[in-house]
Structure formats: C-alpha cells, structure tokens
C-alpha cells in the first residue's frame, strides 16, 4: 500500500517531465511565434562607431563605462557581453580590411537558456524577445552553461540578489511600439528591426541583388533551430567570430530524448527491482526449505544413530550384567562344591 503510494508519487514526477514540451521528442518543429519580431544586422554597413553600445547603456540605465563610447581604441581587443554591457561591437581583420560585428542575445526561437533553467525564469515571448525574470532565478547559472552563443552574464559580486543579465531586445519598448535602443541610434542602418519573416525576405533580397557583396548565408535563420536576430555579412561568419559548427538542432531537442527515458525508468525500475527481490526471496525460501529438509533428515539420522547406539549400549550392559550374574552363580556353585568336598573329607579323618 505504502510502496505503491511512494512509487505513484515518483511516477507523477516522471510524467511531469514527460509531458513537458522539451521531453515531447523531436516530432514537432517550432518555427517561432507568428509575427514575432527580430533584428537584422548587416556587417557590410556597420562602421564600428559604438553608438548602439551607448544607446543600450542609456536605455537600460546602466552605470557609466570606464572607457567612453566615443573612444574606439577598445575595438582593438576582443570583448564580450558583461553584466553592465548587454551588447558590444568587435572589430575583425578580414583580408586586411576591418569588419565589425555586434554581439548581444540572439533571442533564439527555442532558447537553450530557457530549456536549461530549472525554474523557468526564461521565456520566449510572442514579441520575439527572450525575457528573464529575476524573481524566479535561483542563481545556478546553468543558463550560462547552456547558451551556445555565450551571452548570459552574472552579477558575481552581489552577495544577496545577483541577477543574470542579458539583452532584453527592449521588450518593453517594442510593446510600446518603439524601436530597440540600438536600432534607433544606429547611424548607418546596419540594424533593421521588423517581423522576422520580413527580415528574412530583406536579407534574401540583398544577397540576391549583391552576390558579390554577401556570402550566401543568413546566420540565425536555422542555427540552433533559428534565432530572432539575423546576420548577413560579406566575410565568412567564422572570420568574424561566429561559430559555424553549432548545427540546426534546437537546444531542447538535445536533451529531450534522454529526459524522455525518465518515465520509463520510473515505470520499469520498480517492477524490475521488486522482481529481483521476489526472485531473491524465492531462492532464499527454496534454500531455506531445502535446508530445513536437510536438517530434518540429519536429525532423523542422528536420532536413529543415537537410538541404535543406545540399544547396543543397553544390550551390552544387559550382556555384561548377565555375564556378571553367571559369573557370580558359577562362583557360588564352585564355592559350594568346594565346601561340600571339604565337609565330606573332614568326617572321614575323624573316623
């Protein structure tokens, strides 16, 4: 009774895992929310002016940076996002010419961070933004381990309420009908905001019109199952620091197969283990029975032996006793005979 309750509880947990969208297996393919937004970055237009960085800093009310945004010397070293810098522009040297590339959260269609988070602090919104809720976050930083683009950052020096930090795609501004800060301030039109579908069309159109200017690939169209930020470039994406070996499998599919084993384990293990136990018990019982049998036989044999021994002993005692009596009788008879003989001879002497 109790055991079934326990196992029932566990099966419930397993079912909960099974029912989750990630564990549902690879039969579906999520194409992103219809009409969701994104940003297209065109590296051929970017001049590395850092205006987007400055806008991001202002919009998100971040602390002042040690190096002012009009100082372009920082472009000489590679930088990444930080807890107070949601976006950075890096300079790459491609065939002797500088190419600039902006980094920020790519707002994946099926985000690794959301799939990894064990409290559901990340959510892919219908606007296209992947939002983070600090009110749920436990601070395990598994989202950072999971993100293939190395985007989420952490407030390591906050002892009590550290947050994961990353670009929000300016979700609140989008909801108000305004542009993301970086897009608004880009002086060169290197950033275009719009519906993801439209952005893909624009990108395709540019590549088709200027095959000599662009390589024929829209980064983010299918990478990791697709992202809301899209990139086109004249230089290979690898040469501007973007990984081309990520594949097109959405992050949740990487673990869903293994996670779907959970209900099977929960379902089958108890049966298997109880079976093993029952088998052991049965073996033990048979063993015990056999042992009991053997003991009984042994006891019977011992008893038989003992009684036989007793009998022999008694017989022997009997025999000994008889012999003793016989001996005594014989002796008595002999004595009597001797006495008689003596008596017979004595009167003859007196006569």
């Amino acid at each position: 009774m109790k055991r079934r309750k326990f196992i029932g509880l566990l099966a419930g947990a397993g079912a909960c895992l099974a029912a989750s969208p990630a564990a549902a297996g690879g039969t579906h393919h999520f194409e992103g929310y219809p009409d969701s937004h994104g940003v297209l970055f065109d590296s051929t237009k970017c001049i590395g002016c850092r205006k987007c960085e400055a806008a991001c800093n202002k919009v998100n009310e971040m602390p002042a940076q040690p190096v002012p945004f009009d100082d372009l010397t920082v472009l000489e070293s590679k930088r990444r996002t930080h807890h107070d810098t949601f976006t950075v522009v890096n300079k790459y040297d491609v065939d002797g010419k500088p190419v600039f590339r902006k980094i920020q959260c790519n707002h994946c269609l099926e985000p690794a961070c959301a799939s990894a988070c064990f409290v559901g602090a990340f959510v892919k919104d219908k606007t296209g933004a992947v939002s983070y809720d600090a009110k749920k976050c436990v601070g395990c930083r598994y989202c950072m381990v999971a993100c293939p683009f190395e985007i989420p950052t952490y407030e390591y020096h906050d002892p009590v309420t550290p947050r994961v930090r990353k670009c929000t795609m300016c979700q609140s501004r989008i909801e108000e009908g305004r542009l993301p800060g970086c897009v608004e301030d880009c002086p060169k039109g290197a950033l275009i905001f719009g519906k993801r579908e439209d952005l893909l069309d624009i990108a395709r159109e540019r590549i088709r019109k200027h095959p000599d200017m662009y390589i024929d690939h829209i980064y983010g169209e299918r990478e990791m199952g697709g992202t809301s930020w899209l990139y086109i470039s004249g230089a290979s994406f690898e040469s501007i620091g973007m990984r081309e070996d990520l594949g097109v499998t959405p992050a949740p599919d990487l673990t869903s197969g293994a996670l779907s084993v959970v209900p099977a384990v929960v379902g089958l293990w108890p049966m298997f283990l109880t079976g093993a136990y029952a088998l052991t018990k049965r073996k033990e019982k048979i063993f015990e029975e056999e042992q009991a049998h053997a003991v009984k036989d042994a006891v019977a044999e011992a008893e038989a032996k003992a009684s036989k021994k007793l009998k022999t002993a008694m017989d022997k005692a009997e025999r000994d006793k008889q012999a003793a009596i016989d001996r005594e009788v014989k002796k008595a008879l002999k004595d009597a005979e001797a006495a008689r003989k003596k008596a017979e001879s004595a009167p003859a002497d007196e006569q």
Partner: protein, 389 residues
C-alpha cells in the same frame, strides 16, 4: 570518549590541529562569500559559470556517494546477505555525502535561499537540473531515514527504530530508482552544450556514462573506506564486520571489474557514434586515453586479478585508482574538456580561496563522518539490537 584517560593535551594531535586550521580558514572564507559575493572568492566568469564547486563538490560528491544505493541494492534486493555488514557504513557515507553536496551547493547558488523554488513554486521540468534537484532532494530524505536507525539505536528509541527499519525494502527500491535518475542526470546536464564540450567527452550517451560509472564508483568507495576503517577503526568493529570484510571486498571487486569493463566498452561506442576518431591523435586524445585506459581499463584488470587471486590489498589499490578515475572523468567533463575552444586566457583555473572552501567542506564532512563512526553503531551492532537487521 573516556574522561579519565584523555588529557586535554592529547586532543591536539597533528591531524586535529590541521583540521582546526582548515575549519577556521573555511569559516572566514564562508563569511567572505556570503557578504561579498561569489566573485570575491572564486575565479568564475561569464565564460566559466561553473567551477570546482560544481565539478568537484557536486559531480564527484554524488558519484562517490553511490556506495549507498549499490550496497543496499546488493544486500536487500539481490540477496547478498553476506555483505550485510557493509550496508550501514555505506549508507552513512552516502547520507553525509549528499548532505554535504547540498551544503556545498549553497555556496555556489547565487540565491541559495531559493533552493526549494524548482521543487515548489516554479518547476522547470525541461531541465536536467530540475531532475537532479528533485531526485537529490528525495534521495537525501530516503538516505536520512535509512541512516536513522543507527541514531535511534544509540538513543534506544526502539519503536521509531523499528518503524524506520520496517521501511528498508521500500526505501531501497526507491533509492535505486532515484539514484539511477540523478546519477545519469548529472551527465545529462552537459548534453545541452555540444558546442562547448570536447567531442571526445560529449556524447548523446553522457547520461548513461554517468550512471554506469557511478556503480564502480560506489563499489570502490565501499572497498576503499572498508580498507581505511580496517586500518584506523579496527577497535570499533565487531566480529561480524571484521569477518565479513574480506568477502565484501572481493565480492565488490568482482562486480566493479565487470561494470568497469562494460563502461570501458561504452566509452568506445561513444567515440564511434560521435565519429571522433580523428581527435584521438591530438593532445586531447592523449588525455582521453589516459582517462579511459589508465583509469578505467587498468583498475578493471586490477580488480579482476584481485578477485581471482583473493588479494584484498590489490582490490584496495584498485579502488583508489577507480575513485581517482571517476574524479578525473567528472573534472574532465565539467572543467578540463569544457570550453576547450576558448583561448587560454579565458579558461578557468580555480582560485586558492575557492579550493580552500572545497577543502573546508570535505574536512567538515570527514570530521562528521569520523564522529558518526565512533559514536554510533555503524561498524558494530548495538548490543541491544543484535541480529535485528
């Protein structure tokens, strides 16, 4: 402790002095961690969010505490009664192991006070970490109940001891299920990051690898600790424990040898499936071979030989190699081969303070374990509960 024979001076043995120093430093660093943030004591960064607190304290801690479920399953489910004396020490180590894993986790979690969140208000069941959390929480409870009879016996609370003891079979089954799940989930954690983990270590079978290797890890820890307590706690052991020890060692050695061999083969299937053969001829490949041959195949053969020749000493040495191998594997997956593509200056190397906190937690655990082994009926039967298991 007898009050008549111990003088205050004898307490300050070199071992105890070192322990005391570690504890003092550890407490100071604990204060620093919780007042100035994780960043004040660790070398963690945005590229390396998980360091040795996860790689060693969590991953190795859980793997090496696997002796609890392997031993109790062997004895209670698979009827290996002759290993019975090994159960209590194994359960004790497992219970303390898990308790300290959770304790160590509090250091690593940014908002440690929300530890129950995933299991209560905001479950995130798409995450392997959710499964780890759920199973570890449940299993810690199971272990606490399984461990408790030793305490009840020491307190002579017969009724509650009887109740706890009557749950043994149920708890054992439950424990095996939970262990299967979370041992494998720890490997599963890394399955979401194929682009970060070196192909020789990344595999869709990572979860299976972690589960299978946890079995020899657990068995080896039982052998290892058995060997140690034989040496240092002999006087605490009763006859049954002393008499059964060689058999436990050799029986477990045989089992460990078999499972290590299976694991060795699985690792190669992993390489074949990922078609990572070309990586074998790089520096990473050499390191991989060190792990798989030096710390899986070699102890496997050592165990096999020990079992055949009834050589307990060899089994003891094999257990050390196996344990080292499991630690090596967990560190490889979580730290060494993780982020292998990052430039050297962006790679993670633990800070001294970070290591000191780990040393502190391990020391604390050993201190509590020593206390339990010497004060509770674990290596011997309680006189009033003889044969009551």
């Amino acid at each position: 402790m007898s009050h008549h024979t111990t003088t205050p001076k004898s307490f300050w043995t070199p071992a105890n002095i070192i322990t005391a120093v570690i504890l003092v430093v550890g407490i100071a660093l604990t204060v620093k961690r919780f007042t100035m943030g994780i960043g004040s004591v660790t070398n963690l960064s945005d590229d390396n969010p998980w360091g040795i607190w996860i790689g060693f304290d969590l991953l190795c801690g859980v793997a090496l505490a696997a002796g609890g479920y392997t031993t109790s399953a062997a004895v209670y489910l698979f009827g290996m009664k002759k290993y019975h004396s090994a159960v209590r020490p194994a359960i004790t180590t497992a219970f303390l192991g898990y308790a300290f894993v959770v304790f160590a986790l509090l250091y690593d979690l940014g908002r440690y006070y929300r530890l129950p969140y995933p299991l209560t208000i905001y479950p995130g069941p798409t995450s392997f970490l959710f499964e780890v959390g759920l199973c570890v929480a449940l299993y810690l409870t199971v272990l606490a109940i399984e461990f408790s009879p030793a305490v009840w016996e020491a307190l002579r609370w017969k009724k509650i001891r009887h109740l706890a003891h009557s749950l043994t079979l149920l708890l054992t089954i439950f424990g095996v299920i939970l262990s299967t799940l979370h041992q494998s989930s720890l490997g599963g954690l890394y399955m979401i990051a194929p682009s970060k983990l070196h192909p020789l270590w990344y595999s869709p079978y990572l979860a299976l690898f972690f589960f299978v290797s946890s079995i020899p890890a657990g068995l080896s820890m039982v052998i290892f600790e058995g060997g140690l307590s034989h040496k240092f706690l002999h006087h605490k052991m009763d006859e049954a424990h002393i008499a059964q020890a060689p058999e436990v060692t050799l029986g477990f050695a045989k089992a460990a040898s078999v499972v290590l061999f299976a694991y060795f083969n699985l690792k190669w299937i992993g390489v074949a499936l990922g078609n990572s053969w070309s990586h074998l001829f790089t520096g990473w490949g050499a390191w991989f071979l060190v792990e798989v041959i030096g710390f899986v195949l070699v102890p496997c053969l050592m165990y096999a030989m020990a079992a055949r020749e009834k050589n307990g000493k060899l089994a003891f040495w094999a257990s050390i190699v196996t344990v080292a191998g499991i630690v090596l594997n967990r560190l490889n997956v979580s730290l060494v081969a993780f982020n292998w593509q990052l430039p050297a200056e962006a790679r993670y190397i633990p800070s001294l303070e970070e290591i000191m906190i780990t040393v502190f937690i391990v020391t604390l655990e050993i201190t509590v374990l020593r206390f339990c082994l010497s004060k509770l009926p674990i290596l011997h039967e309680h006189p009033e509960f003889k044969g009551a298991h």
